[in-house]
Amino acid sequence: MHYNWNWGIFWEMSPDGIPYIDTLLAGLKWTLATAACAWIMALILGTIFGTLRTTTKPWVVRIANGYVELFRNIPLLVQMFLWYFVMPELLPGALGDWIKSLPDASFVTATLALGFFTSSRVAVQVTTGIQALPRGQRMAGAALGLTPVQTYRYVLLPMAFRIIIPALTNEFAAIIKNSSVALTIGLVELTAATYSMREFTFQTFEALTGATIIYLIISVIALFMARLLEKVTAVPGYITGGSTSAGGH
């Protein structure tokens, strides 16, 4: 078989004037930036909607359920297209044009898409965490004279978060991987950088190996930090296996 291995390719110059290894690392920066911004967004929105799903008002629960189902049942790729191609057209003319003319339009839209997509999955975990608590804790909050908001803020959510930490770290690992879908709307993150390196050099397997190793290193670091966080936050007496064994990405 004819395949010419050339591992030195990473130190050769790319058309951008930097070695190919730096092309990949520049892609990594975009991957991490997208994942981090989307993660903050997903945590905030996920907490809000996950909490709303456990309230007692039926119409609030229905709206929150609708939110979760909407973002869970459309593939991430299609959601990226919706934010990138469709959303600017549906907004009032000037605002849509402004978004399209942003210098980092694909970064902004990728972050929005990934944030909303992941927020629905975080919401499900938050709901699970709150429902895992004994009913008595909510009642105890009420008995102490706390308002519902205070009960959530000081009693239910702090415990719920400690219970779902393992599941959330899984979601965090997933958001880094899912950010690769942003290459379809033109964001040059790690996978896209790998693909462009391949197109310029035809050293397909070196490029793919390089990216795979970088993703592996990130996921080992993330796993290590997750274990540490889980150890620190574990609630004595609770089994917090999380959804480590379940499917999903």
Binding site: I74, P75, F81, E89, L90, S180, R198, T212, S245
Partner: protein, 231 residues
């Protein structure tokens, strides 16, 4: 809001999209599910085996696949499969592999890692005593697995396996990155670009995916309740 949009493009193309693109996506999903569950179950048995090298290989494979993004895996297999094919049949040049076969191999190998983790917890949910009982009445490993452990593991895990299949159904859309595989999203985006109707077409694609995924997950939930009562 929709005054300057032309939803005619959907009326013109939906029959074509459903009979080619969506059909391709559904067949690919179903075949990858079958292959993925079979390979995933074998991987789970390897992971749980007392044979150290076997369990090491399976564990490494599953952890490796689970830590890299699907898009990267799609690229890997898209370029690698022709070489592996040439190696298997002893050809000197990389062989040509059709779009469907290439995508199918990719999704079987990728999803098997996820199905493996589901089946592993399924197998582990069966009390160990049943394994010993199987051996005690003279069964060998395959008889014990095939007749005692796996049927129960499958039944316990059916809802999660089906939920993962809905994830797979959504994942199949990512073959779009190859550009040459005629799945639902790729076909729709080709028509959208040809007719300059991106907004209408992508909204339509989103609605179709939503209806199918939501419908399927509602069915799975109902099914889950049903088997929960039997147990």
């Amino acid at each position: 809001m929709f005054s300057n949009f032309d939803f005619d493009v959907i009326q013109r193309s939906w029959v074509y999209l459903f009979t080619t693109g969506l059909k391709f996506t559904l067949i690919l999903t179903f075949s990858a599910m079958l292959g993925g569950i079979i390979l995933g179950t074998l991987l789970a048995m390897m992971r749980l085996s007392s044979n150290k090298p076997l369990s090491f290989i399976a564990t490494t494979y599953v952890n490796l696949i689970r830590s890299i993004p699907l898009v990267l895996v799609i690229f890997w297999f898209y370029f690698l499969v022709p070489f592996i094919g040439a190696w298997i049949i002893g050809a000197s040049e990389p062989i040509q592999v059709g779009a469907f076969q290439s995508a199918l191999i990719t999704f079987i190998l990728f999803e098997a890692a996820y199905y493996c983790e589901i089946m592993r917890s399924g197998i582990q949910s069966i009390p160990r005593g049943q394994v010993f009982a199987g051996y005690a009445i003279g069964m060998n490993y395959w008889q014990m697995m095939g007749n005692v452990v796996l049927p129960q593991a499958f039944r316990n895990m059916t809802p999660i396996l089906l939920t993962q299949t809905i994830v797979l159904f959504q994942d199949v859309s990512l073959v779009y990155v190859l550009g040459s595989v005629p799945d639902f999203v790729t076909s729709a985006s080709k028509i959208a670009q040809r007719d300059g109707r991106l907004v209408e077409m992508y909204l339509f694609v989103a609605v179709v995916y939503f209806v199918l995924s939501f419908g399927l997950s509602t069915l799975v939930k109902r099914f889950q309740k049903k088997i929960a009562i039997i147990r």
